[in-house]
């Protein structure tokens, strides 16, 4: 899929661990791992909103389109 998830990069910049983000967002670490590895088929707006709120970033910081 040409959509790249840069969640690891943003997490590192914010000095935040995956399980902390999962707790804040309210999803399981397994689901967050699916998202990070790019195995997810879709992302809900509510999840994206919660991630952006927790990481204080824009959706474009997390998602990147690579043709």
């Amino acid at each position: 899929m040409p959509i790249i998830i840069n969640l690891d990069k943003v997490l590192e910049e914010r000095n935040m661990k995956s399980n902390e983000l999962a707790d804040i967002v309210g999803i399981t670490t397994a689901n967050l791992s699916i998202l990070k590895t790019g195995k997810a088929k879709a992302v809900r707006f509510s999840t994206l909103e919660a991630i952006c709120e927790a990481l204080e970033c824009q959706p474009g910081d997390i998602l990147e389109y690579q043709p």
């Binding site: 699916i34 997810a40 879709a42 809900r44």
Partner: protein, 169 residues
């Protein structure tokens, strides 16, 4: 889920009935081949639905019936396994999809071969064999087989939707 239990029991009953009848047919065949040729013939001579008047025709028909019973027993076993799988926790699995497809294909195949062979036997053993085959039964089984294949396609689509839903974060 009472209806599923009832259906499972009916399928099991049909499965075991076919096994019993299959064993009985095998017994009659062995008895006819080894001991007495005419005794079994007496039973079929006066039958309305399955009339046979010669030993040669009887042996051929019993042999074919045994093969056919084998297929039907296998078919009922597949349906039973499928029922068990459907009533378990997971649904839209690859096993269920392939089972629906195989059952449908096998149902059509066995129905067509059964009908074809009954015609062939009537032609080969003219006036020695008379098998009553319901025309409606033939179409009903073909439709049922196609329906099973259709269900397998629906399950395949549902599996994709389920997978997509599970991978939506």
């Amino acid at each position: 889920m009472k209806s599923s239990v009832l259906l499972r029991n009916i399928i099991s009953l049909a499965y075991y009935s076919f096994i019993i009848v299959g064993v009985a047919v095998f017994g009659i065949l062995i008895f006819t081949l080894i001991w007495d040729e005419n005794m079994a013939l007496e039973i079929f001579k006066n039958s309305d639905d399955f009339k046979i008047t010669s030993v040669r025709a009887l042996i051929s028909l019993l042999t074919y019936s045994l093969i056919s019973f084998g297929f039907w027993i296998y078919l009922f076993r597949l349906i039973r396994n499928l029922m068990d799988s459907l009533t378990s926790k997971s649904i839209f699995t690859k096993f269920q999809i392939s089972s629906f497809k195989i059952i449908g294909q096998l149902l059509i195949l066995v129905t067509v071969i059964d009908t074809l062979f009954s015609f062939i036997f009537e032609i080969i053993f003219t006036d020695q064999v008379h098998i009553k085959t319901g025309f409606m039964n033939f179409w009903l089984l073909i439709v049922l087989g196609l329906f099973f294949i259709f269900i397998s396609q629906i399950f395949n689509k549902a599996r994709l939707y389920k997978e997509e839903n599970e991978l939506t974060i």
